[in-house]
C-alpha cells in the first residue's frame, strides 16, 4: 500500500486543532518566559559583562534561550499529545485505521516542528526589540530548529507512551531536560567552567545543540560544529527507528 496522504494530513490538522485549543499555553507562555530571560540575563546582567568572543552577552545567551524553548515546545507537544490520546483512549481511532506507523509518527512530528518554529520566530521577534537578533547562516539555523524539534519530539513520544500518570509525564523534563539545558552552555562558555567540570559540557547533547544554534546565529562556537550536527542527525535517526519499533510492537498503544 502507498502512503495514506489524506490520513497523514488528517493527523496533522487534527493535532493542530488540538494545539489551537491552548494557544496561550503553547505560544504566549514561552514568549513571556523568553522575554524575561532576555531582559534579566541578556540586558540587565549582560550590560555588566564584557564581550564574549567579540559579541555582546545578550547575543551570546539568545541562542540558548531560543534552544531551551524549542526543546520544551517539542517535548511538551508530542508527550502531551500521545499521553492524552492514550488517557482518553482516542489513540484507538488511529489504531483501527489503515495508517502506517510511519504516518502516525510523521503526523505528530510535523506539528511538533510547526509549534517549535512558531515559538522560535516569536522569540526572535522579541529579541529584535533588544537589538539581539542576527542569523549568520540561515540554512544552519533552520537545520538546528528542525533537527532539535524532531529529536525532542520523538523523545516526547517515547515518554508519552511510557507514562502512566501526569507525574511520570513531567519527570524527564523536570529532572533531565531542563537541568541539562541550563548546564549546556546556555549562559556560559566551556572556558568559564572549572577544568574538572568541562567534560560534563562535552558529554551533554544539549551543549552541542545550543552551541550549534549559537554558531548559526552569531558565528561563535565552543566545539567543532560538525560534531554537533553528527550528534543531532544520529539521535534523530536512532530515535526515529526506536519510536517506529515501539509503535510496531504496540508499546503503550495496544493491549
Amino acid at each position: 500500500m502507498g502512503v495514506n496522504w489524506i490520513g497523514l494530513w488528517t493527523i496533522i490538522r487534527r493535532e493542530w486543532s488540538r494545539l489551537m485549543r491552548v494557544p496561550v499555553q503553547a505560544f504566549v507562555a514561552p514568549w513571556i518566559s523568553a522575554t524575561l530571560f532576555i531582559f534579566v540575563f541578556g540586558f540587565v546582567v549582560g550590560r555588566r559583562i564584557s564581550l564574549i568572543g567579540g559579541h555582546r552577552y545578550i547575543e551570546f545567551v539568545l541562542p540558548g534561550i531560543l534552544m531551551v524553548n524549542i526543546v520544551n515546545a517539542a517535548f511538551l507537544q508530542s508527550s502531551s499529545q500521545i499521553y492524552f490520546s492514550r488517557f482518553l483512549r482516542y489513540i484507538e481511532e488511529a489504531l483501527v485505521a489503515p495508517l502506517s506507523y510511519a504516518e502516525m509518527i510523521a503526523g505528530v512530528i510535523a506539528v511538533v516542528v510547526a509549534r517549535s518554529v512558531i515559538t522560535g520566530i516569536g522569540i526572535l521577534v522579541i529579541a529584535t526589540a533588544f537589538g539581539a537578533t542576527s542569523i549568520a547562516s540561515l540554512p544552519e539555523f533552520l537545520f538546528w530548529i528542525a533537527a532539535v524539534a524532531m529529536v525532542f519530539g520523538l523523545l516526547g513520544i517515547v515518554i508519552g507512551l511510557w507514562a502512566n500518570n501526569f507525574e511520570q509525564l513531567n519527570i524527564l523534563n523536570v529532572f533531565i531536560i531542563t537541568p541539562l539545558s541550563f548546564v549546556g552552555g546556555m549562559f556560559n562558555t566551556v572556558a568559564m567552567l572549572p577544568g574538572w567540570l568541562r567534560w560534563l559540557a562535552y558529554a551533554n547533547p544539549l551543549f552541542y545543540f545550543i552551541n550549534g544554534l549559537r554558531h548559526a546565529m552569531i558565528g561563535y562556537t565552543d566545539a567543532n560544529e560538525f560534531i554537533g550536527i553528527g550528534v543531532a542527525v544520529a539521535l534523530a535517526v536512532v530515535m526515529s527507528l526506536a519510536v517506529w519499533r515501539l509503535y510496531a510492537i504496540g508499546y503503550g498503544l495496544r493491549e
Binding site: N4, I6, G7, R18, L88, R89, Y90, V96, P98, R254
Partner: protein, 247 residues
C-alpha cells in the same frame, strides 16, 4: 466462499496474566448478521480488539475477507468499521470533527468525506448537535456519534460492540431498521449486545462466549426454538441458572 471474518485459535493473555481469550475460533460468512453473546468478561470485547488492532493477539490467526489482520493490517483495517463499547473519543472535540477525522484516517477525500459525514449526521439526527463538544452530549447522542464514526468509511464488515447501550427506544428501533437495511445491501455485521431481544430480532447466526471460548453456536432459529427460547439457551450455555422466567 471467503469468510468475512475468520478467527482461528485466537488466544489473548494480558500482561497481568489474565487470559482474555483462551482458544476461540469462528467464521462469519459474508452478508451475515452475526450475534456475539456472552457475560461480562467472557472475551467478546477482547476478541473484537484483536480483530480491529486495538490489542495484539498472543497467538492465532485473524483474517478479514481473506486478508491477514496482523501481517497486512493496513489492508485489513480498510474493510472494518468499529463502534466500540467504551467511548474512545477526544471528548473536547465536536461531533462533526470526530466523524470527519475518522473519514480522513481512512483516506477519504474532502468532498466524499463531507457528503458522507452530512449523510450520517442526518441519519443519526445529529445535525443540531454537530458543533457541540462530545462531552456536552447526552449518553444516547454520544452513542450516535460513535455509530456514525464507525460507518464513515462504509466498511463491508461492521463490528458493533453494545451499540444501543444507553440509547432511547426511538433510536434503538431506528438503528435496528438501518442495520437491517445495511445488511440487506450486503454488509456483514458482527453485533454484541446484552439485549437478547435485539439479537433475536436482528441476527441470523449466534455464538455464545464464556471464559474465553465459544461454548455454543448455531442459527438464531435453532436457539430460539429451544425450550425457554434464546435466553434459556444462553443461560444453559454460560452455565448460569435459569430462573422461573427463562425456564
Amino acid at each position: 466462499m471467503t469468510p468475512a471474518l475468520s478467527v482461528s485459535h485466537l488466544r489473548k493473555v494480558y500482561k497481568s496474566g489474565t487470559v482474555g481469550v483462551s482458544d476461540l475460533s469462528l467464521a462469519i460468512a459474508p452478508g451475515d448478521f452475526f450475534g456475539f453473546l456472552g457475560p461480562n468478561g467472557a472475551g467478546k470485547s477482547t476478541t473484537i480488539h484483536c480483530v480491529t488492532g486495538i490489542a495484539n493477539p498472543t497467538s492465532g490467526t485473524i483474517e478479514i475477507f481473506g486478508v491477514d489482520a496482523v501481517k497486512r493490517y493496513r489492508e485489513a483495517r480498510r474493510l472494518v468499521g468499529l463502534s466500540p463499547q467504551e467511548f474512545n473519543v477526544d471528548t473536547f472535540a465536536v461531533a462533526r470533527d470526530i466523524v470527519d477525522w475518522m473519514g480522513g484516517y481512512f483516506g477519504m477525500n474532502a468532498g466524499a468525506r463531507r457528503a458522507r459525514v452530512d449523510m450520517l449526521l442526518e441519519k443519526f439526527d445529529l445535525v443540531r448537535h454537530a458543533k457541540k463538544k462530545f462531552r456536552e452530549l447526552s449518553g444516547g447522542l454520544k452513542r450516535r456519534v460513535m455509530l456514525a464514526r464507525a460507518m464513515v468509511n462504509d466498511p463491508p464488515l461492521l463490528i458493533l460492540d453494545e451499540p444501543t447501550a444507553g440509547v432511547d427506544v426511538e433510536l434503538r428501533r431506528d438503528l435496528w431498521r438501518y442495520l437491517t437495511e445495511l445488511n440487506a445491501e450486503g454488509k456483514t455485521i458482527l453485533l454484541t449486545s446484552h439485549y437478547l431481544e435485539e439479537v433475536e430480532r436482528l441476527c441470523r447466526n449466534i455464538a455464545i462466549v464464556a471464559n474465553g471460548c465459544i461454548v455454543r453456536r448455531g442459527s438464531k432459529d435453532e436457539l430460539v426454538q429451544e425450550p425457554g427460547g434464546l435466553e434459556a439457551a444462553y443461560l444453559r450455555a454460560t452455565g448460569a441458572e435459569c430462573d422461573h422466567v427463562a425456564a
